[in-house]
């Protein structure tokens, strides 16, 4: 695969800038952030320009843009995703609230709660919590990146906790 010249890359930027910006904006819904992510996308693309698959530039850039938007949304989500009570726990001293919520339940309860989860969390929680597979094994089985499995497992556990807390309050699964 031949290395792309600066001129050729400039043409690529000109051709796909609107597409990349549209993808970023539709995912993050913030014009300034979308502009920054567009630039990040092309910077990454330029640094890996030797790997640009000829004829598939649109897909390749779209993938990078989705990744940049995902990272942006994930960091924003993580900053806000502190449930009431979590902030009182000293980090590293107490087990996560999700683990505590699950440890006090029988297997049948956990299985029922996991089966009631929606995609994409159900198969991840089933593999990692019921079948006790590692995130790496789950990633291989589901064809997802390991990092995605980790974040989906964390979010799945949080959903399980909310579901189980709702059941405690209302006497049944919500």
């Amino acid at each position: 695969m031949a290395s792309m010249t600066k001129e050729a890359f400039s043409l690529l930027v000109e051709q796909y800038e609107h597409l990349v910006y549209t993808i970023c904006f539709q995912l993050v819904r913030d014009a300034a952030a979308a502009e920054d992510l567009t630039q990040e996308t092309f910077l990454s693309a330029y640094l890996h320009r030797d790997a640009i698959p000829t004829g598939y530039e649109r897909q390749w850039l779209g993938r990078i843009a989705a990744n940049k938007a995902k990272d942006h949304l994930q960091s924003a989500w993580s900053r806000r995703a502190v449930l009431p009570g979590d902030e009182a726990l000293a980090a590293g001293l107490s087990p996560p609230a999700e683990e505590l919520a699950l440890s006090g339940l029988g297997e049948a309860d956990i299985r029922a709660a996991i089966e009631a989860l929606r995609e994409p969390y159900r198969p991840v929680c089933r593999l990692c919590l019921l079948e006790e597979r590692s995130p790496e094994e789950a990633a291989l089985a589901l064809g997802r990146p390991v990092k995605t499995i980790h974040t989906q497992l964390a979010r799945g556990k949080r959903l399980l906790r909310e579901r189980l807390e709702g059941r405690e309050q209302h006497g049944d699964l919500p």
Partner: protein, 154 residues
């Protein structure tokens, strides 16, 4: 609105909503981005939908600032390499001179020579000093500690 089908891929409804610019919730957008970041099939479906709709125009184009960032990044990489090399040299010199300073002999005060004498003897002293430094480095690397007198001041 369902984001995912039972087979784990994105629903037509979710992709259409995204491509048409519908105001989706943040969690839904995060799940969509996560999936599009690794799924070739759904990314293909999404970009095909985008090909049928007018694309958005950024308020400021990234073309000019992109090359400025590329240059800044290249400069930073080069600077970091030089800084690392300089730090390695400084560390090596510190180790050499530090090891030689462990057993310093008692300082002997000699009458100070004139400047012309000093200049005449300077090349020889420099050679002695260099020999001393190399010898000290060899001793240090061989694990021996011998008091070596070196340097330019005698």
């Amino acid at each position: 609105m369902e984001i995912f089908r039972e087979d784990g891929h994105l629903t037509e409804e979710a992709l259409a909503a995204l491509a048409q610019g519908a105001a989706l919730e943040e969690t839904a957008r995060l799940e969509l981005a996560e999936h599009l970041a690794f799924c070739d099939r759904c990314l293909q479906r999404y970009t095909e939908l985008l090909a049928e709709t007018p694309l958005l125009t950024p308020g400021r184009s990234c073309r000019e600032s992109l090359w400025a960032r590329v240059r800044a990044r290249t400069l930073r990489l080069v600077t970091n390499r030089y800084a690392a090399a300089a730090a390695a040299v400084a560390l090596a010199l510190t180790m050499v001179w530090g090891s030689r300073g462990i057993e310093l002999p008692q300082r002997i005060v000699l009458p100070r020579p004139s400047i012309s004498q000093e200049l005449r003897t300077w090349p020889a002293k420099w050679n002695d000093s260099l020999d001393g430094a190399v010898s000290g480095l060899n001793d240090f690397l061989n694990g021996r500690e011998t008091p070596v007198q070196g340097g330019m001041d005698s």
